[in-house]
Symmetry: C2
Subunit: 345 residues, 2 copies
């Protein structure tokens, strides 16, 4: 049975939300779930929620990393934090995958520190999954690396393509480079250099994509640095929320519109389900020597459930073996990466 | 009477859309509009559209810059392009402001080249105006400068604040720095250094803002480099479009929902008007020695009309005088700018 270690103390509404999500996950798939956190608190909460203590193993971790704490400080000082112990379970072979909705910077730093990187990967990156008009698109890096070199972007592209093919089932995924114009000559210095590397690679590179292409679904993997990716994801989330609020406010203004809204509320619900981040649960950190999913800090139980199921799916699909062999076989990473490292200096 | 030079050949549906927009503008405000482009074509089109030739002065320009042409090539080779002649009208004192919906890179390069920069401004920047839950927010830079130094961002903040106060009427505008976390220590190298400059400035600096804050309306001026700004604006546009299409598709699936939609269609229309880019018309290029508005390439007549009216408003509000005196008085730009220039080297 696949074993998933879950940071029970991570997220805005932990541990309750995490326990509820874990309880939902074991109902959908046979899993061994290890809840990591303050043992007494977790035991109490499981009982209070009636979540069934028989479903979980509890692993004690005395410390908790706050959502606003400095990742490097947390890594240095809190050696018994729930995040750290969660990833150590994987590092020690006591779990197959780790999930945390805690401080994402700390999760990132801890995952890389505890598990190390896959051979050949210079910078692990977060693969965010976005709903589009034609199905999910991967945005990589969604926030792990804010300052990148061109060859890092190429590595992200290779990892994103493996993820898209292996997990999302896209054959020959189309890879695009996020920029501010379609032509290769458009973009900032890093992106322009990266365009050359992508063009020379064996990826199915379709060239630059612009912000307005993201949700059209005509590209399977969108590559950008973690600053642009993080801003893009949070902007999308905020805009979707704002649109819904503004629309709602207009509808509230008239009785007729309110009646009309009731009639189309099922359509609104279906739409909401389609674009709900909770459907995707979390974003994997690709390139680490293990499986780690970073869930949203505001995760609801469904999001936690889906993050756990995603982690289990990665294990059964042997994501990291695919990643490793593709990275090796592609040759791109080795040859171009090294060449670029030299020319960057 | 305020004189606005309009590039009649610029935009996806020029010259017809531009002429129609100009005709709408003169109905709303007494203006002298100079349409710049191929004289014969414009005369014919004005007649065909019944736009009233008495309202316009036509200024001949024999060349047209294509939407995909290289800006630097266009600037070098097409000395009689409609974009170039439009800005030369301002440079020669024959018009008070210029508007173009043409190739935005070429418009940018041409505006800076022909008009030069305001004293003390190192990099002119595009101020994009976004609708939010609480009124318009300025995003600067929206695409003029893809690679920026920290002190450039500070200059953008100062110019954005003047624009927000002078044109949008916001008193003591709140200025935020786009980043990937609220704390000053979060962000890429440039943003982290810029955070220090902003903190030491006399701006009403509220710290970092994240992507999800953009549409909440709790910040009046959002500062970022032109790469991030351009991606953000286009992403927002694309997402709003995608949401509307997805929602529409769900509504189409059921007769009941379609009936409901009809009942709330007035609410949808009001909402659409609120978020319609055409309401804002265009984005000013701040920091050039003259007034220039870059309109959207896909502008409809209403967008052109509003871009022209925005240009006229800038002239009557004496935007550049405000900009110049604020830039001078702030001291920030001079002192911090210079200090930073030295430390950047």
């Amino acid at each position: 049975m696949i074993r998933v270690a879950v940071d029970a103390m991570g997220g805005d509404h932990a541990p309750a939300v995490v326990i509820e999500g874990a309880a939902q996950a074991v109902k959908e798939r046979p899993l061994s779930i290890i809840l990591v956190g303050q043992k007494n608190l977790l035991t109490q909460e499981i009982e209070r929620l009636g979540a069934g203590s028989g479903h979980f193993i509890i692993q004690n971790a005395t410390e908790v990393v706050g959502m606003d704490e400095s990742p490097s400080e947390a890594l240095k000082k809190k050696k018994d934090s729930s995040i750290r112990v969660t990833f150590e379970m994987v590092g020690q072979g006591r779990a197959d995958a780790a999930v945390s909705a805690g401080n994402s910077g700390a999760t990132l730093a801890t995952a890389s520190f505890v598990l190390g990187r896959l051979e050949g990967v210079e910078r692990p990156a977060i693969a965010g999954v976005l709903p589009t008009l034609k199905g999910p698109t991967v945005m990589i890096d969604a926030g792990a690396n804010v300052d990148c070199k061109p060859h890092h972007l190429l590595q992200f592209g290779i990892m994103g393509a493996v993820f898209s093919q292996g997990i999302l089932g896209v054959s020959n995924p189309r890879v695009g480079l996020m920029s501010i114009g379609e032509e290769g000559a458009k973009g900032n210095l890093v992106v322009k250099k990266a365009h050359e590397l992508f063009s020379a690679s064996s990826l199915n590179f379709i060239g630059n994509v612009e912000g307005r292409d993201v949700f059209r679904g005509d590209v399977d993997v969108i590559v950008c640095d973690g600053f642009v990716g993080n801003v893009s994801l949070k902007l999308s989330e905020g805009l979707a929320e704002a649109i819904s609020l503004m629309l709602r406010a207009e509808i509230e203004k008239s009785l007729l519109a309110r009646a009309g809204y009731l009639l189309c509320s099922s359509a609104f619900r279906r739409f909401k389900k389609k674009v709900d981040y909770a459907e995707y649960g979390g974003a994997p950190l690709l390139g680490i020597n293990g499986i780690g999913i970073i869930a949203h800090g505001r995760s609801c139980p469904k999001a936690i459930k889906n993050a756990i199921l995603m982690a289990a799916e990665f294990v059964s699909q042997k994501l990291n073996e695919h990643l490793l062999s593709n990275v090796r076989n592609s040759g791109d990473l080795q040859a171009l990466g090294r060449r670029q490292v030299v020319s960057d200096r």
